[in-house]
């Protein structure tokens, strides 16, 4: 893992560019998919929180999957869902304490953020840099 995905709610304007980027990037046969990221009102004036998968270390979704359809990608650090293996039992949707595994009712597939395989589209499209994908050393230096 070289990069990490950073969310800075204080910079989010709630413009929802991330949703569009996500939904187009994960389209199937030209049909837009359900977005895996969504800005939600943070409960204070002018404060939006882009909510998406936290790629937890001890991930409840991975533990809940009885057919091993969810696996960690060692390169990106993302928990990826293999749709060929998934049996649609909804265990992960129910188990995620952050609500970040969701049922795409149109595609009839359970979906979650996969960090676009290592180049998150939402970070490219966020106009205010509330979402960034950057080398770990860089962010450690800034905050530490």
């Amino acid at each position: 893992m070289n990069n990490r995905f950073i969310v800075k709610p204080e910079l989010c304007t709630g413009c929802r560019s991330c949703e569009l980027a996500c939904s187009f990037t994960h389209a199937i046969d030209g049909v837009r998919a359900l977005t895996r990221i969504t800005p939600i009102d943070g409960g204070f004036k002018d404060l939006w929180v882009p909510v998406t998968c936290l790629q937890c270390d001890d991930a409840a979704c991975i533990k809940s999957c009885l057919v091993n359809a969810l696996k960690r990608n060692p390169v990106t650090g993302a928990v990826e869902l293999n749709h060929e293996v998934c049996v649609n039992c909804m265990a992960c949707v129910a188990a995620c304490p952050f609500g970040c595994a969701v049922l795409d009712t149109q595609a009839n597939l359970i979906v979650k953020c996969d960090l676009c395989g290592g180049d998150p589209a939402c970070a490219h499209f966020c106009p205010t840099k509330a979402l960034v994908w950057e080398p770990i050393e860089k962010s450690v230096k800034k905050t530490g």
Partner: protein, 258 residues
């Protein structure tokens, strides 16, 4: 890594992986009715049949179920050879005779040119094609709630003694993955009934939305070491909760800066 030829194109494969896996990876459409990546292949439907040969076979070919045939170096595969298509049509012809009312079978048969079966139609049959996807998935998940019972004409999928199965948690995986949508269930008023067993759904403590049964949530909590509280809210209310928590932190930060 080994090399095999599929429909004239040389492709890489792992030694011993099943031909169907390689074929699907190459995005070639081979029909299947009993295949699911979550479970071991069983070779029940015969539709994934392909033609194989090797240069040293002197022009001889073999016809094998690709879901159960391991890839080997130098193998030459034809997924839509004339003979293969004929075999698939005959198999679908029989399926159509056995399950004339199944929309899924009718569509697949039509794709292989079989619009009407040449055999006698079974009039009082059901739509279960005995592929075993349901039982294999239930077994793989660790429940073993249903199985194939009986033989020959009487063979069917059923829970033990045809009674509501104690081992079933109501995850619906059997029903949702049945290729002919044969397995019935009923979900209403916060309850679920499948295989004659009644379940109560977990209702979100905020909005009442239901996602899985109580029995499934308790099973997951107990056997997979997941905090039972995680199951109390639905996905949407969980996202709102996360936004609220992160919002509060960002707001402190914002106030501290100003």
């Amino acid at each position: 890594m080994i090399h095999i030829t599929i429909n004239g194109k040389v492709v890489q494969a792992k030694d011993g992986e099943m031909l169907l896996t390689v074929i699907r990876r190459e995005k070639i459409d081979v029909p299947t009715l009993c295949h699911h990546e979550a479970v071991e292949p069983s070779g029940a439907c015969r539709l994934c049949m392909v033609e194989i040969t090797k240069p040293e076979w002197d022009g001889w070919c073999d016809y094998v179920t690709s879901c159960l045939y391991p890839a080997a170096d130098g193998l030459i595969v034809n997924t839509h050879a004339k003979k293969v298509n004929e075999l698939r049509s005959s198999i679908l012809d029989m399926y159509l005779a056995r399950h004339p009312k199944s929309p899924e079978i009718r569509q697949l048969a039509a794709e292989y040119g079989v619009l009407k079966t040449q055999f006698e139609e079974v009039v009082d049959g059901d739509n279960c094609i005995l592929c075993g996807i349901c039982t294999r998935i239930c077994d793989t998940m660790g429940f073993h709630a249903i199985s194939m019972v009986g033989r020959g004409h009487g063979k069917e999928v059923a829970p033990p003694l045809n009674m509501a199965p104690t081992a079933c948690v109501g995850c619906l995986s059997c029903a949702k993955n049945c290729p002919t949508n044969y397995i019935e269930y009923n979900m209403e008023n916060g309850g679920l009934t499948i295989w004659k067993k009644d379940f109560e759904m977990v209702a979100c403590t905020e909005c009442g939305k239901t996602t899985i049964t109580k029995e499934f949530a308790e099973y997951l909590s107990k056997n997979r070491d997941i905090n039972i509280d995680y199951f109390r809210k639905c996905d949407e209310c969980h996202r709102k909760e996360l936004a609220g928590t992160m919002g509060r932190i960002s707001n402190w930060d914002r106030e501290a800066r100003s």
